[in-house]
């Protein structure tokens, strides 16, 4: 761990979040480090998605703070989180079925000109976006049937790959993946795990939510377990302690 040398890329401190009567996050703290995969584990309703949405700017914390590279940040919108270097691959992928892979890549942050115009009134630099996207798709060895067809016609694995690739392109510090393999077959899951490893190798901090313990043991450097909105444990996942992890998740301490 490089915790001694550098501050964690992401620090969540004493996070509290309520939705009316529901106390979704109770005093949760955890860190994510560069070049590490942190698995966020917990049963349904444990607060994983809420926590992730707070980090990616879709929700605001009621109390507590989020630090990026040791400095407190206010993530009041998805755009703000992205500016802070945080990319998210949502469970529903947040893809636009009617747009092509390239258009999906750059949607919301199109390369455009001239810079003196307000963003919405600028002109799209289609050529550069196409070239850049082609380069990335090539580098990640993602196989797409067609580059210029709407993603509506592509398979679940290809869509997932596009969503992950989009995050990789723009990731500067932290990538959050919310159940990236939930809807995929074995071979397609493999591809996504390879992409996650690549993200890690490129020095990003990665946070992954998954229910698949095999995947956790294989790729995660640390596992943070939530139960009923509380952090109940943190350990280094391995084949040997898989049972402990499961016990922590369901709340049947051994």
């Amino acid at each position: 761990m490089n915790a001694a040398s550098a501050p964690p890329v992401l620090s969540v401190r004493n996070a509290q979040k309520r939705f009316g009567a529901i106390h979704a996050l109770k005093n949760v703290s955890f860190d994510a480090y560069a070049g590490e995969v942190t698995a966020l584990l917990g049963d349904n309703g444990a607060g994983k998605s809420t926590l992730v949405k707070c980090i990616s700017g879709l929700h605001c914390l009621d109390e507590g703070e989020i630090l990026v590279d040791g400095a407190p940040v206010l993530l009041h919108s998805a755009a703000a989180a992205r500016r802070a270097g945080i990319e998210t691959v949502y469970q529903d992928l947040a893809l636009f079925d009617n747009l092509t892979p390239v258009q999906n890549f750059y949607c919301g942050r199109e390369i455009s000109f001239p810079s003196w115009l307000p963003r919405p009134l600028r002109f799209l630099n289609t050529g550069v976006m196409k070239r850049e996207a082609a380069r990335v798709i090539d580098r990640l060895k993602v196989k797409l049937p067609r580059f210029d067809a709407p993603v509506a016609l592509m398979s679940g694995g290809q869509r997932q790959a596009i969503a992950v690739a989009r995050a990789i392109v723009f990731a500067r510090k932290l990538v959050i993946l919310d159940e990236p393999t939930a809807a995929l077959g074995v071979r397609e899951s493999r591809q996504v795990l390879d992409l996650v490893n690549q993200l890690k190798a490129e020095g990003n901090a990665v946070i992954i939510i998954t229910h698949n313990m095999e995947h956790v043991v294989e790729i995660a450097d640390r596992a943070v377990v939530l139960r009923q909105g509380r952090k109940v444990g943190e350990l280094k996942p391995a084949e040997a302690n898989k049972q402990d992890l499961v016990a922590m998740i369901v709340g049947a301490e051994a």
Partner: protein, 317 residues
């Protein structure tokens, strides 16, 4: 852009001109273009709204109100620019009302608010028009725009061309155009990707209203009058133009050319039925049937796409 609608238009024109030779006479073609110009112009605005997954039912009444406001201004000041500005601003203002109430009132669908302004604008137009009826007279510049020609080409047709070019640039080459497609394709994804969804939606309604105002200039110019009963069922014609042209009513899919081809298609169908001496009632029935068929084709296309995706996923694994 798919060429299906264009093909249908060409076939339709061929068939109609075989049945009624009168169809191809220059006078008749000019007639179709003049009648189509208003529909085409307003349909372009409607297309933006439909691309964003909405619908603007108020365009017809909005247009009527804009002509009346223009007529009232003309009674006060004899300046064509003031009259034109009044019509355009009136149209855009109603569009802004639609957008603001829909977006900031958090309505589930724009149907209700634009249905309400459909009624409100018609009522306002009737109430404001002296004697609740048609006001004769329009400044020369406006009659020239609506009814004049330049080198034999109807000016209203040129206006459609200029608007078409601007819309083409907006939808194909500008960031905000891409955002309209994104919001229509998936509002949730657009929010996640940091697109200002509310602003995008609001602007589509303002532009649609502005187009209704521009349509008011053309119609008032062609007829040399303002009237609170103008634009009746224009919402139907414009929605039909967009859908018949091949854009998706489910949002996010469609090309500007769709609205234009759709508008001409409707113009040709109407004109052909006229030439054939078909009752206006049956024309309404025909247009209605064509809309149902076009929407059904759209639903079917989406269904087939979903099927294709499932099949492909199965093949990959």
């Amino acid at each position: 852009m798919s060429l299906g609608p264009l093909l249908i238009l060409i076939i339709l024109i061929a068939v109609v001109s075989l049945i009624t030779p009168a169809f191809l006479k220059p006078g008749n073609l000019g007639n179709i273009l003049a009648q189509t110009a208003v529909i085409a112009l307003v349909a372009m605005g409607q297309q933006l709204v439909i691309l964003s997954r909405g619908v603007d039912l108020s365009v017809g009444s909005n247009l009527a109100l804009a002509t009346v406001i223009g007529g009232l201004v003309y009674q006060q000041v004899d300046a064509s620019i003031a009259v034109i500005m009044a019509m355009l601003l009136s149209g855009a203002a109603i569009g802004a009302v639609n957008g603001v109430v829909f977006v900031y009132g958090r309505l589930p669908h724009p149907f209700i608010i634009t249905l309400a302004t459909l009624s409100i604008c018609r009522g306002l137009a009737l109430a404001l028009a002296p004697g609740h009826t048609t006001m004769r007279g329009m400044p020369n510049a406006i009659t020239a725009i609506g009814g004049g020609t330049t080198f034999g080409v109807p000016n209203s047709f040129l206006a459609v061309g200029i608007f078409g070019l601007l819309f083409l640039i907006l939808t194909k080459s500008m960031v905000c155009g891409r955002w309209i497609y994104a919001v229509g394709g998936s509002p949730n994804a657009a929010r996640s990707m940091g697109i200002p969804v509310k602003g995008v939606l609001l602007s589509t309604y303002i532009i649609s209203g502005f187009c209704a105002g521009a349509g008011a200039v053309l119609l008032a110019g062609r007829t040399g009058a303002a009237s609170p009963i103008y634009g009746n069922l224009l919402e139907l014609d414009t929605i039909a133009a967009v859908i018949i042209g091949g854009a998706s009513f489910l949002g996010g899919r469609g090309h500007l050319g769709h609205a234009l081809i759709g508008a001409v298609l409707i113009g040709v169908i109407r004109n052909a039925l006229n030439l054939l001496g078909v009752d206006v009632f049956f024309q309404m029935i025909a247009i209605g049937l064509v809309i149902v068929i076009a929407v059904e084709a759209d639903v079917l296309r989406n269904h087939l796409e979903a099927r294709a995706r499932v099949l492909q996923s199965a093949r990959v694994q």
